[in-house]
């Protein structure tokens, strides 16, 4: 594959190359929706069946840390959007700055998530390990509580995996941006990784109420 400037040889124009990359990212994100969709469906079915226990389990999550993380992630979406804007108007230093801020906020989110996971480990709320849940000690309730926490770790774990991938992409973007590669004419990678980052944020916007806010008034 030979390349002239930023244009790969199998494309005719920069516009065609940009359209392809953007459409490809949107299609990839639609597969991601279906990928998370299977988990959301499993959650919905079980929450419907075991509504009372799911509500109890939800109360054991740390609302303050979860809420803080939600704010952090929304802020990171803002900084990501700002870096796309900076690239479009050609402010090269601002692109780098906002990308670094986004990466920082993403890391804060993952750090807080690790603290929350550790708390669950201390409380023996991790399914698959020795498991205890305070409300109701009978076998069935215990099993249904484990279902909630399996879904909690499954959904937030998959989300966190996407965050880690996103952080890796940001590191690559920052390196390219430091080389001054992104200009008003060519900034597709910033825009597309931005799309991915926003998608991962939106998943959290759904996860937070579904997991933390059941039966909290």
């Amino acid at each position: 594959m030979h390349r002239t400037g930023e244009l790969y040889g199998h494309f005719q124009t920069m516009e065609q190359q940009k359209d392809s990359a953007t459409l490809g990212m949107w299609i990839f994100l639609s597969t991601e929706i279906l990928f998370f969709g299977g988990l959301f469906l499993t959650y919905t079915v079980n929450r419907h069946t075991y509504a009372a226990i799911f509500a109890e389990c939800s109360k054991s999550l740390d609302l303050k840390l979860g809420g803080f993380n939600t704010v952090v992630l929304i802020a990171s979406s803002l900084t990501m959007a700002m870096s796309v804007w900076s690239a479009q108007v050609g402010k090269k230093k601002l692109v780098t700055l906002f990308l670094i801020l986004t990466l920082f906020l993403g890391c804060v989110f993952l750090g807080v998530k690790a603290i929350e996971y550790h708390a669950k480990y201390v409380e023996h709320h991790i399914p698959g390990l020795p498991f205890e849940f305070e409300v109701g000690s009978d076998v069935a309730t215990n099993a249904h509580a484990q279902l909630f926490f399996s879904l909690y770790f499954g959904m937030t774990g998959l989300h966190a995996t996407h965050m880690v991938v996103g952080a890796g992409l940001l590191v690559w973007l920052i390196r390219q941006s430091l080389k001054g590669r992104f200009t008003p004419e060519y900034n597709t990678p910033v825009e597309n990784i931005g799309l991915y980052w926003h998608f991962v944020d939106i998943v959290w916007i759904y996860l937070f109420p579904l997991l933390y806010l059941i039966d909290r008034h």
Binding site: F11, Q16, G24, L39, A140, L147, L151
Partner: protein, 558 residues
């Protein structure tokens, strides 16, 4: 066969994609869609033989009522591994990844797919997934059925389930990336003048298939991931003993795995839509209906999954709705068959090898499709559910349909891929052997199923032996029908006659460049100013006057 002494002597182009670069690295690190297609061809052929060996052992085992070859436990493993190898590693990637990769850019006049490196990545992902599955096969095997129903797969099975589901999970991303690549390529890489309604119908079929890849595959991926987690950490998503719902697994599984059937058969329909007008020397009848019906099958195909679950105790109204929706799929399928028949009507038909496969496809798909209606019928399904009737039905679709389309397409585009012609007479004989062998193998299974022989059992009552022996005999003929093309196609790569750019002749863009094509596909970017399949109006191909005798296709034995 025919003796057209006026045919010009063809020579191979001096430089083409096969000799543009040399060495093992030039293949393993290639981003050329044509070379990636050949990498896929080699790997899906390998898995076809893996699955074929299991099939052979199944048929030998069922020669006698008590079972001939293996223990009941090993019989469970045989049919499971046959299904997993054939479905996930042969049928699903076969036409899309081999012919789709080779043809999608060529048919639309592009230099490559939109994302050549992702294209190569998807082949490596396929290989990694394949290694996981082969590891599962060779360390204890797999006995859950290809459907991985829980809690058998997640709790009770003692076979190597975890590496197998991980392998299929990984392999899914190969499908997703291929689907994404094709959709983007078809949207953004078309040559000037190649409008949507000038696209070859094979492209429409690939587009519809890609939609299923994109929207269906992630669901099976997350489902099998959950099964794997459940098995490794003793979680309860689908385990009723822990409050989980095994029926939920079946819904999620079939949400992908029913549309997956259309992943297998839609591209084959695309191949048939290319072959039939070429050898009937007529424009295709009802172009827009065939194109639209591909999309319709992909869309409706997503709404029928629970017809696999009529006997799970789902509500009557749900079963009713899924039964009616399943009947609906028959409409776009029938539209295709009627349009192919209308294309043949008053055509000047020549029975070349690809045409034999295409005609075979129509007949076998018709039987497979109509018996599908039996199974979509609620009352009748209770009688024939989980019997050999179902086995025969889906083999008529997957082998009679998809594999006939695949082998037919391989013959049709072989001259383009290799630049050589295969021996025509031998190829026609092989096509007939394949057709006879297939029917002898699977038609008796319709009768067995109707008489009540359940699928997946390692033994059967003695009165079913005659039909089972017929089926096994048919399978050995079928095996010959597959080995012959393997041998003569390989032979022709070295010794076949040089094909020339357009041996049939056909109207598609891919036939307007050298065979084998140059690395960039076309010497100059083509500009399309003609309608598709315009066989009545192509003086450049000698097809101008319908009344004059058309030029005979070039053959390897001429």
């Amino acid at each position: 066969m025919s003796t057209s002494s006026t045919a010009p002597v063809q020579t191979l182009p001096r430089e083409h994609y096969l000799n543009a670069t040399y060495g093992i690295r030039s293949w393993l690190l290639t981003t050329d869609h044509k070379r990636i297609a050949l990498l896929y061809l080699a790997s899906v052929t390998f898995f076809f033989f893996v699955g074929g060996i299991f099939a052979t052992m199944i048929r030998i085992h069922l020669l006698t009522p008590t079972g001939y070859l293996v223990t009941p436990e090993n019989y469970n493993k045989l049919f499971t591994m046959h299904g997993v190898a054939m479905i996930f590693f042969f049928l699903i990637p076969s036409i899309p990844a081999v012919m789709g990769n080779f043809l999608v850019p060529m048919m639309i006049g592009a230099k490559d797919v939109a994302f050549p490196r992702i294209n190569l990545l998807s082949w490596y992902i396929y290989l990694i997934g394949g290694c996981f599955v082969l590891y599962s096969f060779s360390t204890g095997g797999l006995d859950t059925g290809w459907t991985f129903y829980t809690p058998l797969s997640s709790v009770y099975s003692n076979s190597a389930v975890t590496p197998a589901v991980m392998g299929i999970f990984i392999n899914g991303f190969s499908s997703i990336l291929t689907g994404m690549n094709f959709v983007v390529t078809i949207h953004t890489m078309r040559a000037p003048g190649m409008t949507w309604f000038r696209l070859p119908l094979f492209i429409w079929a690939q587009y519809a298939t890609s939609i299923i890849f994109i929207l269906g595959t992630p669901v099976i991926a997350i489902t099998l991931l959950l099964v794997g987690l459940e098995r490794m950490f003793h979680l309860g998503f689908f385990n009723p003993a822990l409050g989980g719902d095994p029926i939920l697994f079946q819904h999620l599984f079939w949400f992908y795995s029913h549309p997956a059937v259309y992943i297998m058969v839609l591209p084959a329909m695309g191949v048939v839509s290319e072959i039939i007008p070429t050898f009937a020397r007529k424009p295709i009848f009802g172009y827009s209906f065939i194109a639209g019906s591909s999309i319709a099958i992909a869309v409706i195909g997503f709404l029928v999954w629970a017809h696999h679950m009529f006997l799970t105790g789902q509500s009557t109204y749900s079963a009713l709705a899924f039964s009616l929706l399943s009947y609906l799929v028959a409409i776009p399928s029938a539209i295709k068959v009627f349009n192919w028949a209308s294309t043949l009507y008053k055509g000047s038909i020549s029975y070349d090898t690809p045409m034999l496969y295409a005609l075979g496809f129509i007949g076998l798909f018709l039987i497979g499709g109509l018996t599908g209606l039996f199974l979509a019928c609620l009352g009748l399904d209770i009688h024939i559910h989980d019997t050999y009737f179902v086995v025969a039905h889906f083999h008529y679709i997957m082998v009679g349909g998809a594999v006939m389309g695949y082998v037919g397409g391989l013959h049709f585009w072989w001259p383009k891929i290799t630049g050589k012609l295969y021996p025509e007479f031998l190829a026609r004989v092989a096509a007939v052997i394949l057709f006879i062998g297939f029917n002898l193998t699977f038609f008796p299974q319709f009768i067995l199923g109707y008489l009540g022989m359940p699928r997946r059992y390692h033994n059967y009552p003695p009165e079913f032996q005659v039909l089972n022996v017929m089926s096994t005999a048919g399978a050995s003929i079928l095996a010959l029908g597959y080995l012959l093309p393997m041998i003569y196609l390989t032979w022709s790569m070295r010794y076949g006659k040089v094909a020339g750019p357009n041996p049939w002749p056909a109207t598609g863009l891919e036939w307007r460049t050298d065979s084998p094509p140059p690395a960039d596909n076309f010497h100059v970017t083509p500009e399309v100013d003609w309608e598709p399949y315009d066989y009545n109006n192509r003086p450049d191909l000698g097809l101008a006057a319908p009344l004059a005798p058309s030029p005979a296709p070039a053959h390897g034995d001429d």
